[in-house]
Symmetry: none
Subunit: 403 residues, 2 copies
């Protein structure tokens, strides 16, 4: 019996509201030995104040030492073992921009690339072409017609787009066309198994037709596809936990993963934390669970911008009262993974967790929320998949196990 | 290979003695942020003194966020994954009062109830009828005879009794007769599968005959049965660990779970910690492992009595020298789960663990034993199933794994 089965067995209704506030890449590292991390350097009076009715701990996203991508890291926070529950990159990208993907469809993530005259890739991201310049190219590709097939394509951001071949009956067992090396042409679409031959042929025709439309663009004159995949058919979050669940996220990929587990996606206008919080507050009566995703902590970490990441954390802290005013019963603030600005990339380091639950959390004396206090926290070190059961428990939404 | 298989493979004889002292519901919560828990408020000079030859940590009974019943919580302490090893309530109750349950028998837990004239349940616990008043009713029911069947019934405590239908060959796939709602009559015994039809019919006849005997009682004029179950046939604790194992417990249910894993039950006269300790000391030469269960910490927690729970912990502390005088090599003091008096119920919070082993434990400077020191303890946060292997290791009773 998996932990998801156990949650399905034990969940019960309660009039409580849960908020899961994810600061992407929250975990960090100090710049000098013994110094503060980004989170510890940030001035966070509201978060620190919450610790008097909270528990602290740290989460391991996938397994110790494993650096997660965004999809698996979020699945783990939702309680799904990410090693058992794999999401293809194509599905994640497509779903994130609102392209539904069903069994028998095949989704892929696309990159615009710059090709030289011999057709070899010179830039795998087409010079990081702007959204404004790339979106019209995707509009042109949307008009491509391949006999006997139906394709849908949608722009994501900058050089990235998603494309879906509609089924029924297609297999996604296809090789990426990105050669993962410079000075190589894009590879043709190859089937890994015979049942994927029709999809391989149709995608190849679609690439060739689309490439003809792009041929004269100075930078985006080619494309690659990868992460061919279909609906992973996960058990649905609302069924597992008995929660009406909503997602507020600015970036498409996070809406995608929330949507794949069956959360309802709330439209957010604006990109600041307070915009997302306002969205949640407006939807408050209609849901029991809110997943809120803050992207910029991760972006500043990837930029290597220690002060900038701390500032993004401070912006969340400053906006927090507007969210608390709605009256959640349980609030978890954590990250999907660490993105230490010192490393400029995702990492495997444990992620600090603040679990605020006035009725049932330990409640600490004055404490600065950060990696150090969390590593010594009363919750200990837990896998990210343990978070949802803890939230359910504090929300009085689990029955006792056994007599 | 499960952890039990590993223990079976690695155990070896040694002339060492292990004591597992379980204070039921030991874990607690502070009354105010940063304040002491029940355990931290208790004056425990003997326990605090043990920390100089001990390690500290905290145990998660089932999984994070899962509130355990007593059966599964104890199974976990004995090393059995409680999600894999389920015990029916009927078996637990029957075994606890010394009614053996074998494969093909069916055990149920019974409640006396108060029925109105229309046969609807007015009180699911018969006004919490006293043991003195209820025991003679059970004696009357013991005389009930159903043709072609053999029933045994025994009083547990107050409004509760256990009944066993002897096999061979019966199925326990039966629905509870407790309707779990007020103003309803008890449900008839229904089979969930055809092979349980004979047991359903016999139990129904037994209920009808017993109910006729009760009809004139002012409060206990009816009964319900639930938790129909048979011997779960667990691997035996003495075989897994190579330990001659004994249990000293005042309350029947804990004797029941110890008996189900094959421990020998020691008769305890008296209900105080020193009575249980005396029992253990007297049996000292005959066993390698003693499980001692203290109930009242949980009871005071369920009463919401912070000071009372602390006082029960102090009573154990005061009696401890009489147990230590027997000369254990390893002593674990922990709980099966938390019962914070603030919550008045079992909870999922991690449980503090003191593992005293002069020869091999870390050994700490002066330390107050409590949730805070245990959350930061040298053992970290572990599942309860990790305790038995640790005790075996400190008792020099495990071989090295691999060359």
């Amino acid at each position: 019996m998996t932990d998801l089965d156990l949650a399905r067995e034990l969940n019960r209704p309660a009039p409580t509201k849960i908020v899961l506030l994810v600061l992407d890449g929250l975990g960090g590292l100090p710049r000098e030995p013994g110094g503060p991390t980004e989170l510890e350097a940030a001035h966070t009076p509201n978060l620190d104040g919450l610790t008097s009715h909270a528990s602290l701990g740290q989460l391991i996203p996938i397994r110790p030492g494993i650096t997660p991508g965004s999809g698996p890291a979020h699945l783990a926070l939702f309680g799904y073992d990410p090693v058992q529950h794999r999401i293809g990159r194509g599905v994640l990208e497509a779903t994130g921009v609102g392209l539904e993907v069903h069994r028998g469809d095949v989704a892929a993530r696309g990159n615009f690339v710059t090709l030289d005259r011999a057709g070899r890739i010179q830039d795998r991201r087409a010079g990081r072409i702007s959204t404004g310049e790339a979106a019209p190219l995707v509009d042109q590709m949307a008009a491509v017609e391949i006999p006997g097939a139906r394709f849908e394509v949608r722009h994501v951001r900058e050089y990235r787009f998603a494309v879906v071949l509609r089924g029924p009956g297609h297999s996604a067992n296809l090789e990426d066309t990105d050669p993962q090396a410079s000075e190589q042409p894009p590879a043709p679409v190859r089937a890994r198994t015979p049942d994927a031959e029709p999809a391989a042929r149709l995608f190849q025709q679609w690439i060739e037709a689309s490439s003809r439309l792009l041929a004269d663009h100075p930078r985006a004159n080619g494309l690659t596809l990868r992460g061919f995949s279909t609906d992973p058919d996960f058990p649905r979050f609302p069924d597992i936990y008995g929660l009406r669940a909503a997602c507020a996220a600015v970036y498409p990929m996070y809406r995608g993963v929330a949507s794949l587990v069956g959360m309802q996606i709330l439209p957010v206008s604006g990109e600041r934390p307070e915009d997302e919080f306002r969205t949640v507050v407006q939807a408050w009566p209609d849901f029991d669970f809110f997943f809120i995703h803050i992207k910029k902590t991760d972006s500043r970490g990837e930029d290597g911008d220690f002060e900038g990441k701390a500032a993004e954390i401070e912006a969340v802290d400053a906006a927090l009262p507007s969210l608390l005013a709605a009256g959640p019963d349980v609030l978890a603030l954590t990250g999907d993974h660490s993105t230490p600005s010192r490393m400029r990339t995702h990492s495997w380091h444990p992620v600090p967790l603040l679990l605020w639950a006035p009725a049932t959390a330990r409640g600490l004396g004055p404490t600065k929320f950060g990696e150090t206090s969390c590593a010594r926290g009363d919750l200990g070190t837990l896998p990210s998949t343990a978070l949802m059961p803890l939230l359910m428990a504090h929300a009085q939404r689990f029955d006792k196990f056994g007599a």
